[in-house]
Amino acid sequence: MELRGFKNRNATPGYIYFEGEKESQNSWERFKRFSARAVKGELFVGLWIVLREMIKFNIHTVQYPLQKLQMFPRYRAIHKLLRLFESGHERCIGCGLCEKICIANCIKIDTKVDENSRKLVTEYSINFGRCIFCGYCAEVCPELAIVHGDDYEHASEQRAHFGLREDMLTPIDEFKAKKQKEFPGFGALSKDADKFVKKTPLAY
C-alpha cells in the first residue's frame, strides 16, 4: 500500500450513517412498531441459544484445586533468578539495571567486590507488596538472570515471602536435576535469534 492511502483522512465513503429510528406519527404507526417489536422472534432465539449450550454441554469451568491452568510463556508471575547452565553459578552480574528501571522501586540489590576483584551480589530482594509485575526488570536484564515465573499461587503468611534471593534463585538440587528451564517469555531471545547475529565490522 502506498503512503498516499494512509494520508486520505476522508473516511466517509465506507461508512453508512444511521439517522436514528423514525419518530412514529400516529397511533396506527405506533401500533405497527409495537407489534413488530413484540412479535420479533428474538426472545425465542435467546431461549434456543441457552438450550443449545446446555445440550452441547461444553463446560468451560476449571475446577481449580483439582485442575490448574498452564500459564502461557509471557505470563508475568513471581520472579525467578536463574543459574548458568554451564557452571551452576547464578547468572546475576550485579549490574543494577533492574533496580534502576524498576518503576515501583521495589528491587533492592547490593554488591561488593570480592577477593578476586569480581563483582559479587550480596543482597537481592523484591518487595512484592510494591511490585506491579510490569516485566521491565526481566526485559532489561542482559543476562536473562531475573525472569518471571509462571507460579500464580502466591498467597502466604508473610509479605516478605517469595521476595528474597534464596526464594527466587533456582535451588541447587533442582538445578542439578536439570529442572531449570530456559525462560521463553518476556525479554528472552527469540528462537531464531542466531540468524540476526552479525559480525562486528572491524574496518577501523
Binding site: 413484540a38 426472545l43 435467546g46 431461549l47 441459544i49 441457552v50 438450550l51 449450550e53 446446555m54 454441554f57 461444553n58 463446560i59 468451560h60 469451568t61 475446577q63
Partner: protein
C-alpha cells in the same frame, strides 16, 4: 367414626403434602442452580456430595444456624410475621390442588387432594394473592429503602397480573362450568386431542405469563431484582426467615406448574401410553424447567413496562378471549 377417619386422613395428607412440597422446593433450588449453570457453560455446585447433591443439606444447615437479625428500627412483630405469611399462604394454596389420579392402597381409596372444595380455583388464586402480603409487609416493616421499594413493586405486580390471570382463566371456567380443578381435569379425559390448550390457546399463553408474574420469575422479577433494589423486600432478612420467603416462592412455582398442567395440559389423565401420575410429574417438571430456562435466557422488564403490558395488552386480549368464548358457547 367416619369423621375421625376423615380428620386423620386429612392430617396425614396435609403433612405429606407439606413435607413433599417443602422438600421439592428445596430440591428446586439445587436444580435451578444446576440448570442455570449448564446453560451458562458452568458446572454449578460440585463439591458437596456427588455432583454437589448435598449442597442442599449444606444450604439448609446454613440457613437454620445463621444469626437471626432484626434491624433496630424495624417494626418487630410485622417483620417477624411477614415471611410466615409468605410461606403459609403458598402452602395453603397447595391444599386445593389435586396432584395425581386417585389410587387404592390396602383397599382404601385415596384422593391425592387435601380438600376438594367446589371453588378450588378461586381458593388457590385467592390464597396465592394473599401471599403478596408477605413481601408487602416485609417491605413496609424493614425500615430500609430497598425493602420499601421492593414492597411497593410487589403491590404493583399484584394489581397488574391478578386481573390478567383472573380474566384469562375465566374462559376455561365458562367452558367447563366448574371451579373445581378435579372437574377441569375430568373435562379433558380422552387423550391429547382433548386438552384445553387446543381450545383456549390464548388463555393458556395469558395464564402462563400471569403465572410468571405471580411467582416473581425472571421476566417479571422486579420485586427482588439485585441490580436495582439489592434484594428487594428480603434485603434485611437473614437465616430461616429469608429461607421461608424462598420456600414460599418455590412452592408457588410448583403450584402454578400444577395448575397450568391441570387446566390446560390435560391434568393427570393418561397420555398415550404414559400413566396419568407419571404424565403429571413430567408436565410439572417441564414447567419448572421452563421457569429456569426463561430465567437463563431473558432479561427482566421495568415496573412501568409490566403495568403497561398487563393493563394495555394482556387485559384487553383476555377480555376479547372471554367475549369470543362466550359467543362460541352461546
Amino acid at each position: 367414626m367416619i369423621e375421625t377417619a376423615l380428620i386423620i386422613e386429612t392430617v396425614v395428607k396435609a403433612v405429606v403434602v407439606l413435607s413433599v412440597v417443602a422438600a421439592m422446593a428445596g430440591f428446586a433450588t439445587f436444580i435451578e442452580r444446576k440448570v442455570l449453570a449448564f446453560m451458562q457453560r458452568r458446572l454449578g455446585p460440585m463439591h458437596v456430595g456427588p455432583y454437589g447433591l448435598l449442597q442442599l443439606a449444606a444450604d439448609g444447615i446454613k440457613l437454620f444456624t445463621k444469626e437471626d437479625i432484626i434491624p433496630q428500627n424495624a417494626i418487630k412483630p410485622i417483620f417477624i410475621i411477614a415471611p410466615v405469611i409468605g410461606a403459609a399462604s403458598a402452602f395453603v394454596a397447595v391444599a386445593a390442588v389435586p396432584y395425581f389420579p386417585e389410587f387404592t392402597v390396602f383397599g382404601y381409596t385415596i384422593h391425592p387432594i387435601i380438600s376438594d372444595i367446589n371453588v378450588g380455583l378461586l381458593f388457590i388464586m385467592g390464597a396465592a394473592s394473599v401471599g403478596m402480603y408477605g413481601p408487602l409487609l416485609a417491605g413496609l416493616s424493614s425500615a430500609n429503602k430497598w425493602s420499601l421499594l421492593g414492597g411497593a413493586r410487589a403491590v404493583i405486580q399484584l394489581l397488574s397480573f391478578e386481573v390478567v390471570s383472573g380474566l384469562s382463566i375465566l374462559a376455561p371456567i365458562m367452558m367447563i362450568g366448574s371451579l373445581s380443578l378435579i372437574d377441569m381435569n375430568d373435562y379433558q379425559i380422552g387423550g391429547v386431542a382433548n386438552w384445553l390448550i387446543w381450545k383456549q390457546p390464548l388463555a393458556f399463553v395469558l395464564f402462563a405469563i400471569a403465572g410468571f408474574a405471580e411467582t416473581n420469575r425472571t421476566p417479571f422479577d422486579l420485586v427482588e431484582f439485585e441490580a436495582e433494589i439489592v434484594s428487594g423486600y428480603a434485603t434485611e432478612y437473614s437465616g430461616m426467615r429469608w429461607g421461608l420467603f424462598f420456600i414460599g416462592e418455590y412452592a408457588n412455582m410448583i403450584t402454578i406448574s400444577v395448575m397450568v398442567s391441570i387446566i390446560f395440559l390435560g391434568g393427570y389423565n393418561d397420555m398415550w401410553f404414559i400413566p396419568g401420575a407419571i404424565a403429571m410429574l413430567l408436565k410439572v417438571s417441564l414447567w419448572i424447567f421452563l421457569f429456569l430456562w426463561v430465567r437463563a435466557a431473558w432479561p427482566h422488564i421495568r415496573p412501568d413496562q409490566l403495568m403497561w403490558l398487563c393493563w394495555k395488552v394482556l387485559m384487553p386480549l383476555s377480555l376479547i378471549n372471554v367475549l369470543i368464548t362466550g359467543i362460541v358457547l352461546v
